[in-house]
Amino acid sequence: MSEKLMVKGTEAIAEAAIRAGCRNYFGYPITPQSELAEYMSRRLPQVGGTFLQAESEVAAVNMVYGAASTGKRVMTSTSSPGFSLMQEGISYIAAAQLPCVFVNVVRGGPGLGDIQPAQSDYFQATKGGGHGDYRLIVLAPSTLQEAVELTYLAFDLADEYRNPALILADGLMGQMMEPVEFPEFRDLKTLPKHEWALTGCNEREPNKVTSFNIDPYELEKMNKVYQEKYLRIIKKEKRWENYMTEDAEYLFVAYGTMARIIKTVVRKAREEGIKAGLFRPITLWPYPYEELHELSEKVGFVLTVEMSAGQMIEDVRLAVSGRTKVFFYGRTAGVIPTPNEVLEELKKKIGMVKV
Protein backbone atom coordinates (compact mmCIF):
# COMPACT_ATOMS: atom_id res chain seq x y z
CA MET A 1 0.00 0.00 0.00
CA SER A 2 1.15 3.48 -0.76
CA GLU A 3 0.27 6.87 0.69
CA LYS A 4 -3.26 8.15 0.41
CA LEU A 5 -4.41 10.05 -2.62
CA MET A 6 -7.57 12.10 -3.05
CA VAL A 7 -9.36 10.59 -6.00
CA LYS A 8 -12.68 10.46 -7.76
CA GLY A 9 -14.48 7.14 -7.94
CA THR A 10 -13.87 6.79 -11.64
CA GLU A 11 -10.16 7.46 -11.12
CA ALA A 12 -10.01 4.99 -8.23
CA ILE A 13 -11.45 2.20 -10.37
CA ALA A 14 -9.21 3.05 -13.33
CA GLU A 15 -6.00 3.13 -11.32
CA ALA A 16 -6.94 -0.06 -9.46
CA ALA A 17 -7.49 -1.79 -12.82
CA ILE A 18 -4.07 -0.73 -14.04
CA ARG A 19 -2.48 -1.97 -10.84
CA ALA A 20 -4.31 -5.28 -11.28
CA GLY A 21 -2.51 -5.69 -14.60
CA CYS A 22 -5.08 -4.28 -17.01
CA ARG A 23 -3.26 -2.80 -19.99
CA ASN A 24 -6.13 -2.64 -22.46
CA TYR A 25 -9.08 -0.31 -22.29
CA PHE A 26 -11.75 0.28 -24.92
CA GLY A 27 -14.61 2.64 -24.25
CA TYR A 28 -16.99 5.33 -25.39
CA PRO A 29 -17.63 8.52 -23.42
CA ILE A 30 -20.83 8.83 -21.43
CA THR A 31 -21.60 10.90 -18.34
CA PRO A 32 -21.10 10.35 -15.41
CA GLN A 33 -18.09 8.13 -16.02
CA SER A 34 -16.16 9.74 -18.87
CA GLU A 35 -13.37 10.59 -16.43
CA LEU A 36 -12.60 6.88 -16.24
CA ALA A 37 -11.85 6.81 -19.96
CA GLU A 38 -9.96 10.10 -19.69
CA TYR A 39 -7.86 8.74 -16.85
CA MET A 40 -7.08 5.60 -18.85
CA SER A 41 -6.19 7.62 -21.94
CA ARG A 42 -3.65 9.50 -19.90
CA ARG A 43 -2.35 6.70 -17.76
CA LEU A 44 -2.22 3.61 -19.98
CA PRO A 45 0.41 4.96 -22.38
CA GLN A 46 2.61 5.65 -19.33
CA VAL A 47 2.60 1.93 -18.48
CA GLY A 48 2.84 0.56 -22.01
CA GLY A 49 -0.88 -0.09 -22.33
CA THR A 50 -3.50 0.54 -24.98
CA PHE A 51 -6.35 3.01 -24.75
CA LEU A 52 -8.79 3.25 -27.61
CA GLN A 53 -11.89 5.38 -27.88
CA ALA A 54 -14.26 3.24 -29.88
CA GLU A 55 -16.90 4.50 -32.29
CA SER A 56 -19.69 3.20 -30.03
CA GLU A 57 -20.32 1.04 -27.00
CA VAL A 58 -21.16 -1.74 -29.43
CA ALA A 59 -17.69 -1.53 -30.93
CA ALA A 60 -16.06 -1.07 -27.52
CA VAL A 61 -17.50 -4.26 -26.08
CA ASN A 62 -16.40 -6.19 -29.14
CA MET A 63 -12.90 -4.77 -28.86
CA VAL A 64 -12.99 -6.10 -25.31
CA TYR A 65 -14.04 -9.46 -26.77
CA GLY A 66 -11.06 -9.39 -29.12
CA ALA A 67 -8.49 -8.36 -26.51
CA ALA A 68 -9.89 -10.79 -23.93
CA SER A 69 -9.64 -13.63 -26.43
CA THR A 70 -5.88 -13.07 -26.53
CA GLY A 71 -5.79 -13.72 -22.77
CA LYS A 72 -4.83 -10.17 -21.82
CA ARG A 73 -6.48 -8.25 -19.01
CA VAL A 74 -8.95 -5.80 -20.48
CA MET A 75 -11.78 -3.58 -19.32
CA THR A 76 -14.38 -1.12 -20.43
CA SER A 77 -16.58 1.29 -18.54
CA THR A 78 -19.85 2.96 -19.32
CA SER A 79 -23.08 4.24 -17.84
CA SER A 80 -26.61 2.87 -18.15
CA PRO A 81 -27.59 3.57 -21.79
CA GLY A 82 -24.12 2.55 -22.86
CA PHE A 83 -24.32 -0.65 -20.86
CA SER A 84 -27.56 -1.49 -22.65
CA LEU A 85 -25.71 -1.19 -25.94
CA MET A 86 -23.01 -3.54 -24.68
CA GLN A 87 -25.40 -6.37 -23.84
CA GLU A 88 -24.96 -8.12 -27.18
CA GLY A 89 -21.23 -8.38 -26.70
CA ILE A 90 -21.52 -9.32 -23.05
CA SER A 91 -23.68 -12.31 -23.92
CA TYR A 92 -21.10 -13.46 -26.47
CA ILE A 93 -18.22 -12.86 -24.05
CA ALA A 94 -19.96 -14.85 -21.32
CA ALA A 95 -20.63 -17.69 -23.74
CA ALA A 96 -17.08 -17.66 -25.07
CA GLN A 97 -15.94 -17.68 -21.43
CA LEU A 98 -13.65 -14.71 -21.79
CA PRO A 99 -12.35 -12.98 -18.67
CA CYS A 100 -12.75 -9.21 -18.63
CA VAL A 101 -14.10 -6.46 -16.40
CA PHE A 102 -17.01 -4.10 -17.01
CA VAL A 103 -17.89 -1.01 -15.05
CA ASN A 104 -21.40 0.43 -15.09
CA VAL A 105 -21.67 3.77 -13.33
CA VAL A 106 -25.44 3.78 -13.16
CA ARG A 107 -27.48 6.91 -13.88
CA GLY A 108 -31.18 7.70 -13.80
CA GLY A 109 -33.31 5.91 -16.36
CA PRO A 110 -35.06 4.45 -18.25
CA GLY A 111 -34.39 5.80 -21.72
CA LEU A 112 -31.95 8.66 -21.98
CA GLY A 113 -32.89 9.41 -18.37
CA ASP A 114 -30.59 11.86 -16.64
CA ILE A 115 -27.01 11.92 -15.42
CA GLN A 116 -27.70 11.64 -11.70
CA PRO A 117 -26.91 8.58 -9.57
CA ALA A 118 -29.28 5.61 -9.60
CA GLN A 119 -29.41 1.88 -8.89
CA SER A 120 -31.98 1.03 -11.50
CA ASP A 121 -29.77 -1.29 -13.57
CA TYR A 122 -29.81 -4.03 -10.94
CA PHE A 123 -32.01 -6.34 -13.02
CA GLN A 124 -29.85 -5.80 -16.07
CA ALA A 125 -26.69 -6.52 -14.10
CA THR A 126 -27.82 -9.56 -12.17
CA LYS A 127 -30.56 -11.19 -14.24
CA GLY A 128 -29.02 -11.08 -17.67
CA GLY A 129 -29.64 -8.10 -19.89
CA GLY A 130 -28.30 -9.93 -22.86
CA HIS A 131 -29.68 -13.12 -24.38
CA GLY A 132 -29.23 -16.62 -23.07
CA ASP A 133 -28.51 -18.28 -19.73
CA TYR A 134 -25.44 -16.50 -18.51
CA ARG A 135 -24.25 -14.72 -15.41
CA LEU A 136 -21.89 -11.90 -14.66
CA ILE A 137 -20.00 -11.75 -11.40
CA VAL A 138 -21.42 -8.50 -10.02
CA LEU A 139 -19.52 -6.54 -7.37
CA ALA A 140 -21.07 -3.49 -5.71
CA PRO A 141 -18.63 -1.30 -3.78
CA SER A 142 -19.87 1.12 -1.18
CA THR A 143 -16.78 3.27 -0.66
CA LEU A 144 -14.00 4.27 -3.00
CA GLN A 145 -11.47 2.20 -1.06
CA GLU A 146 -13.74 -0.78 -1.54
CA ALA A 147 -14.10 0.10 -5.22
CA VAL A 148 -10.33 -0.15 -5.52
CA GLU A 149 -10.24 -3.51 -3.78
CA LEU A 150 -13.18 -4.97 -5.69
CA THR A 151 -11.81 -3.79 -9.04
CA TYR A 152 -8.53 -5.52 -8.26
CA LEU A 153 -10.45 -8.62 -7.21
CA ALA A 154 -12.71 -8.51 -10.28
CA PHE A 155 -9.77 -9.20 -12.59
CA ASP A 156 -8.68 -12.19 -10.53
CA LEU A 157 -12.20 -13.62 -10.37
CA ALA A 158 -12.66 -13.08 -14.10
CA ASP A 159 -9.44 -14.95 -14.82
CA GLU A 160 -10.11 -17.73 -12.35
CA TYR A 161 -13.57 -18.52 -13.66
CA ARG A 162 -13.13 -17.36 -17.27
CA ASN A 163 -16.15 -15.16 -16.77
CA PRO A 164 -16.82 -11.46 -17.20
CA ALA A 165 -17.10 -9.48 -13.97
CA LEU A 166 -19.00 -6.24 -13.47
CA ILE A 167 -18.37 -3.41 -11.07
CA LEU A 168 -21.81 -1.92 -10.45
CA ALA A 169 -21.43 1.61 -9.12
CA ASP A 170 -23.70 4.61 -9.30
CA GLY A 171 -23.09 8.14 -10.43
CA LEU A 172 -22.33 9.36 -6.94
CA MET A 173 -19.62 6.73 -6.46
CA GLY A 174 -18.24 7.66 -9.83
CA GLN A 175 -18.06 11.36 -9.05
CA MET A 176 -17.39 11.61 -5.32
CA MET A 177 -13.88 12.13 -4.00
CA GLU A 178 -12.31 10.26 -1.14
CA PRO A 179 -8.86 9.41 0.11
CA VAL A 180 -7.77 6.04 -1.19
CA GLU A 181 -4.76 3.77 -0.85
CA PHE A 182 -3.86 1.77 -3.93
CA PRO A 183 -2.46 -1.76 -3.90
CA GLU A 184 0.94 -2.47 -5.42
CA PHE A 185 1.29 -2.98 -9.15
CA ARG A 186 0.71 -6.56 -10.13
CA ASP A 187 3.80 -8.01 -11.78
CA LEU A 188 2.49 -8.89 -15.23
CA LYS A 189 4.65 -12.00 -15.24
CA THR A 190 2.62 -13.39 -12.35
CA LEU A 191 -0.71 -13.15 -14.18
CA PRO A 192 -2.36 -16.50 -14.98
CA LYS A 193 -1.34 -18.15 -18.24
CA HIS A 194 -4.27 -18.99 -20.48
CA GLU A 195 -3.80 -22.13 -22.55
CA TRP A 196 -6.97 -21.37 -24.49
CA ALA A 197 -5.97 -17.89 -25.63
CA LEU A 198 -5.70 -16.88 -29.27
CA THR A 199 -2.07 -15.94 -29.69
CA GLY A 200 -1.16 -17.67 -32.95
CA CYS A 201 -0.80 -21.45 -33.05
CA ASN A 202 2.94 -21.53 -32.59
CA GLU A 203 4.02 -25.14 -31.95
CA ARG A 204 0.54 -26.21 -30.92
CA GLU A 205 -2.81 -27.06 -32.42
CA PRO A 206 -4.95 -24.01 -33.22
CA ASN A 207 -7.13 -22.61 -30.43
CA LYS A 208 -10.72 -21.66 -31.19
CA VAL A 209 -12.78 -19.27 -29.12
CA THR A 210 -16.47 -19.51 -29.87
CA SER A 211 -19.83 -18.76 -28.35
CA PHE A 212 -21.93 -21.17 -30.37
CA ASN A 213 -22.68 -24.64 -31.51
CA ILE A 214 -25.50 -25.26 -33.92
CA ASP A 215 -26.04 -28.78 -32.63
CA PRO A 216 -28.55 -28.39 -29.78
CA TYR A 217 -27.08 -31.28 -27.81
CA GLU A 218 -23.58 -29.89 -28.13
CA LEU A 219 -24.80 -26.40 -27.21
CA GLU A 220 -26.53 -27.87 -24.20
CA LYS A 221 -23.20 -29.40 -23.17
CA MET A 222 -21.65 -25.93 -23.38
CA ASN A 223 -24.48 -24.59 -21.27
CA LYS A 224 -23.88 -27.28 -18.67
CA VAL A 225 -20.28 -26.17 -18.43
CA TYR A 226 -21.45 -22.61 -17.76
CA GLN A 227 -23.98 -23.72 -15.18
CA GLU A 228 -21.45 -25.88 -13.33
CA LYS A 229 -19.12 -22.93 -13.27
CA TYR A 230 -21.86 -20.67 -11.91
CA LEU A 231 -22.51 -23.17 -9.14
CA ARG A 232 -18.82 -23.11 -8.21
CA ILE A 233 -18.95 -19.31 -8.11
CA ILE A 234 -22.09 -19.34 -5.96
CA LYS A 235 -20.40 -21.70 -3.53
CA LYS A 236 -17.15 -19.80 -3.22
CA GLU A 237 -17.59 -16.17 -4.06
CA LYS A 238 -20.51 -14.73 -2.10
CA ARG A 239 -19.57 -11.59 -0.24
CA TRP A 240 -21.62 -9.48 2.14
CA GLU A 241 -21.34 -7.25 5.19
CA ASN A 242 -23.37 -7.30 8.40
CA TYR A 243 -23.58 -3.92 10.10
CA MET A 244 -24.95 -3.83 13.66
CA THR A 245 -27.06 -6.90 12.99
CA GLU A 246 -26.15 -8.79 16.18
CA ASP A 247 -29.09 -7.50 18.17
CA ALA A 248 -31.05 -5.91 15.35
CA GLU A 249 -34.82 -5.94 15.52
CA TYR A 250 -35.29 -4.28 12.15
CA LEU A 251 -33.11 -5.08 9.23
CA PHE A 252 -32.22 -2.83 6.32
CA VAL A 253 -30.98 -4.34 3.09
CA ALA A 254 -29.13 -2.01 0.74
CA TYR A 255 -26.04 -2.02 -1.45
CA GLY A 256 -23.53 0.47 -2.83
CA THR A 257 -24.01 4.15 -2.05
CA MET A 258 -27.44 3.46 -0.56
CA ALA A 259 -25.92 1.04 1.97
CA ARG A 260 -23.54 3.76 2.98
CA ILE A 261 -26.37 6.17 3.65
CA ILE A 262 -28.21 3.43 5.54
CA LYS A 263 -25.26 3.06 7.91
CA THR A 264 -25.94 6.64 8.94
CA VAL A 265 -29.62 5.79 9.30
CA VAL A 266 -28.77 2.79 11.49
CA ARG A 267 -26.63 4.97 13.76
CA LYS A 268 -29.33 7.61 13.95
CA ALA A 269 -32.00 5.01 14.70
CA ARG A 270 -29.95 3.47 17.47
CA GLU A 271 -29.39 6.94 18.93
CA GLU A 272 -33.17 7.03 19.28
CA GLY A 273 -33.28 3.56 20.78
CA ILE A 274 -34.42 1.73 17.65
CA LYS A 275 -32.33 -1.38 17.14
CA ALA A 276 -31.74 -1.30 13.40
CA GLY A 277 -29.11 -3.17 11.43
CA LEU A 278 -27.95 -3.39 7.85
CA PHE A 279 -27.29 -6.35 5.60
CA ARG A 280 -25.17 -5.25 2.66
CA PRO A 281 -24.65 -7.62 -0.26
CA ILE A 282 -21.25 -6.95 -1.80
CA THR A 283 -21.67 -9.53 -4.55
CA LEU A 284 -25.03 -8.90 -6.20
CA TRP A 285 -24.42 -12.06 -8.16
CA PRO A 286 -23.89 -14.49 -6.58
CA TYR A 287 -26.44 -13.10 -4.14
CA PRO A 288 -25.97 -14.06 -0.46
CA TYR A 289 -29.46 -15.54 -0.12
CA GLU A 290 -28.79 -17.94 2.75
CA GLU A 291 -26.96 -15.37 4.82
CA LEU A 292 -29.78 -12.89 4.45
CA HIS A 293 -32.35 -15.60 5.12
CA GLU A 294 -30.69 -16.45 8.43
CA LEU A 295 -30.71 -12.83 9.57
CA SER A 296 -34.26 -12.21 8.44
CA GLU A 297 -35.56 -14.91 10.75
CA LYS A 298 -34.51 -12.87 13.77
CA VAL A 299 -36.02 -9.49 12.90
CA GLY A 300 -39.44 -7.86 12.96
CA PHE A 301 -39.22 -6.87 9.32
CA VAL A 302 -36.86 -6.19 6.50
CA LEU A 303 -36.74 -2.79 4.80
CA THR A 304 -35.04 -2.72 1.43
CA VAL A 305 -33.88 0.69 0.31
CA GLU A 306 -32.77 1.31 -3.24
CA MET A 307 -32.24 4.19 -5.62
CA SER A 308 -34.75 2.52 -7.92
CA ALA A 309 -38.41 1.61 -8.05
CA GLY A 310 -37.58 -1.71 -6.43
CA GLN A 311 -35.32 -4.22 -8.11
CA MET A 312 -33.05 -5.91 -5.56
CA ILE A 313 -36.14 -6.34 -3.40
CA GLU A 314 -37.04 -9.34 -5.55
CA ASP A 315 -33.87 -11.08 -4.41
CA VAL A 316 -34.53 -9.99 -0.85
CA ARG A 317 -37.96 -11.60 -1.01
CA LEU A 318 -36.45 -14.78 -2.40
CA ALA A 319 -33.94 -14.81 0.45
CA VAL A 320 -36.48 -14.07 3.16
CA SER A 321 -38.90 -16.63 1.71
CA GLY A 322 -41.84 -15.34 3.68
CA ARG A 323 -40.15 -15.65 7.06
CA THR A 324 -40.87 -12.00 7.81
CA LYS A 325 -42.37 -8.92 6.20
CA VAL A 326 -40.38 -7.25 3.46
CA PHE A 327 -40.92 -3.53 2.86
CA PHE A 328 -39.48 -1.26 0.24
CA TYR A 329 -38.42 2.35 0.12
CA GLY A 330 -36.81 3.92 -2.89
CA ARG A 331 -36.31 7.07 -4.92
CA THR A 332 -35.85 7.06 -8.65
CA ALA A 333 -34.38 9.15 -11.45
CA GLY A 334 -31.28 10.23 -9.59
CA VAL A 335 -32.83 11.46 -6.35
CA ILE A 336 -30.80 10.20 -3.38
CA PRO A 337 -32.81 9.37 -0.25
CA THR A 338 -31.51 11.32 2.74
CA PRO A 339 -30.79 9.64 6.07
CA ASN A 340 -33.67 11.48 7.78
CA GLU A 341 -36.11 10.56 5.09
CA VAL A 342 -35.23 6.88 5.42
CA LEU A 343 -35.34 7.06 9.21
CA GLU A 344 -38.88 8.44 9.00
CA GLU A 345 -39.79 5.57 6.73
CA LEU A 346 -38.39 3.09 9.23
CA LYS A 347 -40.47 4.63 12.01
CA LYS A 348 -43.56 4.55 9.85
CA LYS A 349 -43.08 0.84 9.17
CA ILE A 350 -42.50 0.13 12.86
CA GLY A 351 -45.80 1.86 13.56
CA MET A 352 -47.53 -0.18 10.90
CA VAL A 353 -46.17 -3.44 12.22
CA LYS A 354 -47.08 -2.63 15.81
CA VAL A 355 -50.68 -1.76 14.92
Partner: protein
Protein backbone atom coordinates in the same frame (compact mmCIF):
# COMPACT_ATOMS: atom_id res chain seq x y z
CA UNK B 1 -29.13 16.42 -7.34
CA UNK B 2 -29.37 14.63 -4.07
CA UNK B 3 -26.18 15.83 -2.43
CA UNK B 4 -27.64 19.28 -2.33
CA UNK B 5 -30.12 18.06 0.19
CA UNK B 6 -27.42 16.38 2.22
CA UNK B 7 -25.63 19.67 2.91
CA UNK B 8 -27.81 21.74 5.15
CA UNK B 9 -25.79 23.38 7.86
CA UNK B 10 -23.37 26.16 7.12
CA UNK B 11 -20.96 27.74 9.54
CA UNK B 12 -19.42 31.16 9.39
CA UNK B 13 -16.03 30.90 7.81
CA UNK B 14 -13.00 32.18 9.63
CA UNK B 15 -10.27 33.85 7.70
CA UNK B 16 -6.87 35.26 8.08
CA UNK B 17 -6.87 37.39 5.00
CA UNK B 18 -7.26 41.06 4.21
CA UNK B 19 -9.51 42.28 1.46
CA UNK B 20 -6.61 43.88 -0.32
CA UNK B 21 -4.41 40.79 -0.22
CA UNK B 22 -4.82 40.04 -3.89
CA UNK B 23 -4.62 43.51 -5.38
CA UNK B 24 -7.54 45.66 -6.31
CA UNK B 25 -9.13 43.69 -9.10
CA UNK B 26 -12.81 42.76 -8.81
CA UNK B 27 -12.77 39.61 -10.92
CA UNK B 28 -11.38 36.44 -9.36
CA UNK B 29 -10.83 33.37 -11.50
CA UNK B 30 -10.29 29.86 -10.10
CA UNK B 31 -8.58 27.36 -12.39
CA UNK B 32 -6.93 24.01 -11.83
CA UNK B 33 -6.94 20.29 -12.50
CA UNK B 34 -10.02 18.09 -12.07
CA UNK B 35 -11.05 17.67 -8.47
CA UNK B 36 -8.56 20.15 -7.06
CA UNK B 37 -11.31 21.95 -5.12
CA UNK B 38 -12.01 24.94 -7.35
CA UNK B 39 -15.75 24.97 -6.82
CA UNK B 40 -15.62 24.61 -3.06
CA UNK B 41 -13.06 27.35 -2.90
CA UNK B 42 -15.01 29.63 -5.24
CA UNK B 43 -18.08 29.36 -3.03
CA UNK B 44 -16.09 30.04 0.12
CA UNK B 45 -14.31 32.91 -1.56
CA UNK B 46 -17.65 34.39 -2.55
CA UNK B 47 -18.88 34.07 1.05
CA UNK B 48 -15.77 35.85 2.26
CA UNK B 49 -16.14 38.70 -0.22
CA UNK B 50 -19.77 39.00 0.84
CA UNK B 51 -18.67 39.32 4.44
CA UNK B 52 -16.47 42.21 3.34
CA UNK B 53 -19.70 43.95 2.28
CA UNK B 54 -19.16 43.65 -1.42
CA UNK B 55 -21.78 43.03 -4.05
CA UNK B 56 -20.81 39.53 -5.11
CA UNK B 57 -21.63 37.36 -8.07
CA UNK B 58 -20.37 33.87 -8.73
CA UNK B 59 -20.28 32.27 -12.16
CA UNK B 60 -20.53 28.54 -12.69
CA UNK B 61 -18.46 28.08 -15.81
CA UNK B 62 -17.84 24.40 -15.27
CA UNK B 63 -18.54 22.78 -18.63
CA UNK B 64 -16.69 19.62 -17.58
CA UNK B 65 -18.07 18.16 -14.35
CA UNK B 66 -21.46 16.52 -14.27
CA UNK B 67 -21.86 16.79 -10.48
CA UNK B 68 -20.64 18.96 -7.60
CA UNK B 69 -21.04 22.33 -9.20
CA UNK B 70 -21.78 25.81 -7.91
CA UNK B 71 -25.30 25.52 -9.34
CA UNK B 72 -26.01 22.74 -6.80
CA UNK B 73 -25.91 25.44 -4.08
CA UNK B 74 -27.87 28.10 -5.88
CA UNK B 75 -30.58 28.39 -3.18
CA UNK B 76 -28.12 28.73 -0.36
CA UNK B 77 -26.02 31.31 -2.20
CA UNK B 78 -29.07 33.31 -3.22
CA UNK B 79 -30.15 33.43 0.40
CA UNK B 80 -26.74 34.90 1.22
CA UNK B 81 -27.46 37.56 -1.41
CA UNK B 82 -24.83 36.23 -3.75
CA UNK B 83 -25.84 36.26 -7.41
CA UNK B 84 -25.29 32.93 -9.07
CA UNK B 85 -24.64 32.96 -12.79
CA UNK B 86 -25.49 29.50 -14.02
CA UNK B 87 -27.23 27.88 -16.97
CA UNK B 88 -31.01 28.37 -17.02
CA UNK B 89 -32.87 26.27 -14.49
CA UNK B 90 -34.34 23.88 -17.03
CA UNK B 91 -30.83 22.95 -18.18
CA UNK B 92 -29.27 22.90 -14.75
CA UNK B 93 -28.80 19.16 -14.73
CA UNK B 94 -28.27 18.84 -18.44
CA UNK B 95 -25.14 17.20 -19.66
CA UNK B 96 -24.45 20.17 -21.90
CA UNK B 97 -21.56 22.62 -21.97
CA UNK B 98 -23.66 25.74 -21.51
CA UNK B 99 -21.96 29.10 -21.01
CA UNK B 100 -24.51 31.40 -19.36
CA UNK B 101 -24.71 34.52 -21.53
CA UNK B 102 -25.24 36.73 -18.43
CA UNK B 103 -21.55 36.31 -17.64
CA UNK B 104 -20.59 39.15 -20.01
CA UNK B 105 -22.79 41.56 -18.08
CA UNK B 106 -21.15 40.76 -14.77
CA UNK B 107 -17.66 41.11 -16.20
CA UNK B 108 -18.51 44.62 -17.35
CA UNK B 109 -20.72 45.63 -14.38
CA UNK B 110 -18.22 47.31 -12.05
CA UNK B 111 -20.71 47.37 -9.18
CA UNK B 112 -20.16 43.67 -8.69
CA UNK B 113 -17.25 41.51 -7.78
CA UNK B 114 -17.24 38.40 -9.89
CA UNK B 115 -15.93 35.01 -8.86
CA UNK B 116 -15.49 32.62 -11.74
CA UNK B 117 -15.38 28.86 -11.17
CA UNK B 118 -13.83 27.22 -14.18
CA UNK B 119 -13.96 23.50 -15.08
CA UNK B 120 -11.04 21.14 -14.75
CA UNK B 121 -7.74 21.08 -16.65
CA UNK B 122 -7.02 22.97 -19.83
CA UNK B 123 -10.22 21.61 -21.38
CA UNK B 124 -12.22 23.45 -18.76
CA UNK B 125 -9.99 26.52 -18.89
CA UNK B 126 -10.65 26.85 -22.60
CA UNK B 127 -13.93 28.71 -21.90
CA UNK B 128 -11.87 31.68 -20.76
CA UNK B 129 -10.46 32.07 -24.25
CA UNK B 130 -13.71 33.60 -25.51
CA UNK B 131 -13.84 36.04 -22.59
CA UNK B 132 -10.20 37.09 -22.62
CA UNK B 133 -10.67 40.49 -24.27
CA UNK B 134 -13.23 41.55 -21.68
CA UNK B 135 -11.16 40.11 -18.87
CA UNK B 136 -8.04 42.02 -19.82
CA UNK B 137 -10.07 45.20 -20.25
CA UNK B 138 -11.60 44.98 -16.79
CA UNK B 139 -8.71 43.32 -14.98
CA UNK B 140 -8.68 40.10 -12.99
CA UNK B 141 -6.86 38.00 -10.44
CA UNK B 142 -6.39 34.38 -11.41
CA UNK B 143 -5.77 31.57 -8.92
CA UNK B 144 -4.58 28.06 -9.76
CA UNK B 145 -5.98 25.66 -7.18
CA UNK B 146 -3.76 22.65 -6.50
CA UNK B 147 -4.09 19.53 -4.40
CA UNK B 148 -0.77 17.73 -4.40
CA UNK B 149 -2.46 14.53 -3.27
CA UNK B 150 -4.30 14.21 -6.58
CA UNK B 151 -3.11 11.87 -9.34
CA UNK B 152 -0.85 13.30 -12.07
CA UNK B 153 0.23 16.45 -10.14
CA UNK B 154 2.39 15.09 -7.39
CA UNK B 155 5.73 16.64 -8.30
CA UNK B 156 7.23 19.94 -9.40
CA UNK B 157 7.63 19.16 -13.08
CA UNK B 158 4.10 17.96 -13.62
CA UNK B 159 2.64 21.01 -11.85
CA UNK B 160 4.86 23.40 -13.81
CA UNK B 161 3.79 21.72 -17.02
CA UNK B 162 0.15 22.01 -15.95
CA UNK B 163 0.46 25.73 -15.20
CA UNK B 164 1.85 26.32 -18.69
CA UNK B 165 -0.94 24.30 -20.22
CA UNK B 166 -3.63 26.11 -18.22
CA UNK B 167 -2.28 29.52 -19.15
CA UNK B 168 -2.06 28.74 -22.82
CA UNK B 169 -5.59 27.24 -22.92
CA UNK B 170 -7.16 29.99 -20.83
CA UNK B 171 -5.11 32.60 -22.65
CA UNK B 172 -4.69 34.49 -19.39
CA UNK B 173 -2.00 34.74 -16.75
CA UNK B 174 -2.12 32.89 -13.44
CA UNK B 175 -1.36 35.32 -10.58
CA UNK B 176 -1.38 33.03 -7.56
CA UNK B 177 -1.16 29.40 -6.53
CA UNK B 178 -3.49 28.06 -3.85
CA UNK B 179 -2.42 25.08 -1.79
CA UNK B 180 -5.55 22.98 -1.37
CA UNK B 181 -3.71 19.77 -0.53
CA UNK B 182 -6.18 17.49 1.22
CA UNK B 183 -7.48 13.96 1.50
CA UNK B 184 -10.97 14.81 2.60
CA UNK B 185 -11.80 14.34 6.24
CA UNK B 186 -8.50 12.61 6.87
CA UNK B 187 -6.61 15.82 6.13
CA UNK B 188 -4.01 16.83 8.73
CA UNK B 189 -1.90 19.93 9.23
CA UNK B 190 1.20 17.92 8.29
CA UNK B 191 -0.43 16.98 5.04
CA UNK B 192 -1.26 20.59 4.23
CA UNK B 193 2.33 21.55 4.96
CA UNK B 194 3.59 18.76 2.75
CA UNK B 195 1.64 20.38 -0.07
CA UNK B 196 2.89 23.82 0.77
CA UNK B 197 6.51 22.63 0.68
CA UNK B 198 6.05 21.25 -2.79
CA UNK B 199 4.23 24.33 -4.05
CA UNK B 200 6.99 26.56 -2.68
CA UNK B 201 9.39 24.88 -5.08
CA UNK B 202 6.90 25.35 -7.89
CA UNK B 203 6.50 28.96 -6.89
CA UNK B 204 10.25 29.59 -6.96
CA UNK B 205 10.58 28.11 -10.44
CA UNK B 206 7.46 29.67 -11.93
CA UNK B 207 7.66 33.02 -10.16
CA UNK B 208 3.98 32.65 -9.22
CA UNK B 209 3.45 33.36 -5.50
CA UNK B 210 1.36 31.20 -3.18
CA UNK B 211 -1.81 33.03 -2.10
CA UNK B 212 -2.61 30.79 0.86
CA UNK B 213 -3.17 27.25 2.09
CA UNK B 214 -6.67 25.94 2.58
CA UNK B 215 -7.69 24.59 5.99
CA UNK B 216 -10.84 22.47 6.20
CA UNK B 217 -13.51 23.43 8.73
CA UNK B 218 -12.94 20.42 10.98
CA UNK B 219 -9.27 21.16 11.70
CA UNK B 220 -8.57 23.10 14.86
CA UNK B 221 -8.13 26.75 13.96
CA UNK B 222 -5.65 27.10 16.84
CA UNK B 223 -2.91 26.21 14.41
CA UNK B 224 -3.56 29.40 12.54
CA UNK B 225 -2.73 31.53 15.51
CA UNK B 226 0.81 32.79 15.47
CA UNK B 227 1.54 31.25 12.12
CA UNK B 228 3.15 33.51 9.56
CA UNK B 229 1.61 31.51 6.78
CA UNK B 230 -1.59 32.57 5.16
CA UNK B 231 -4.55 30.27 5.57
CA UNK B 232 -8.07 30.25 4.25
CA UNK B 233 -10.48 28.25 6.35
CA UNK B 234 -13.30 26.76 4.33
CA UNK B 235 -16.66 25.19 4.90
CA UNK B 236 -16.73 21.91 3.00
CA UNK B 237 -19.74 21.90 0.72
CA UNK B 238 -18.99 18.73 -1.19
CA UNK B 239 -17.84 16.36 1.53
CA UNK B 240 -19.35 12.94 2.04
CA UNK B 241 -20.11 13.81 5.65
CA UNK B 242 -23.84 13.87 5.14
CA UNK B 243 -23.71 10.35 3.76
CA UNK B 244 -21.52 9.02 6.56
CA UNK B 245 -22.89 11.15 9.40
CA UNK B 246 -21.47 10.49 12.83
CA UNK B 247 -24.21 10.46 15.44
Amino acid sequence: MGTKKLNTTVEVITLKLKSSDFGNERIFIFLGPFGSGKTELSINFALWRKKLNKKVSIADLDIISPYFRVRDHIDFLSKKDITVIAPPKEFMHADLPIIPPKIMGYITNTDYELIMDIGGENDGAMVLGMLKDHLSEFGYTCFAVLNTRRPFYRNEDSILELLDRLQSSAKIKINYLINNTNIGKETTVDLIEEGEDLLKKVSEKSGIPIAFSVIPDFLDSEILIGSEKKFFRIKRFFSNDQIDQEV
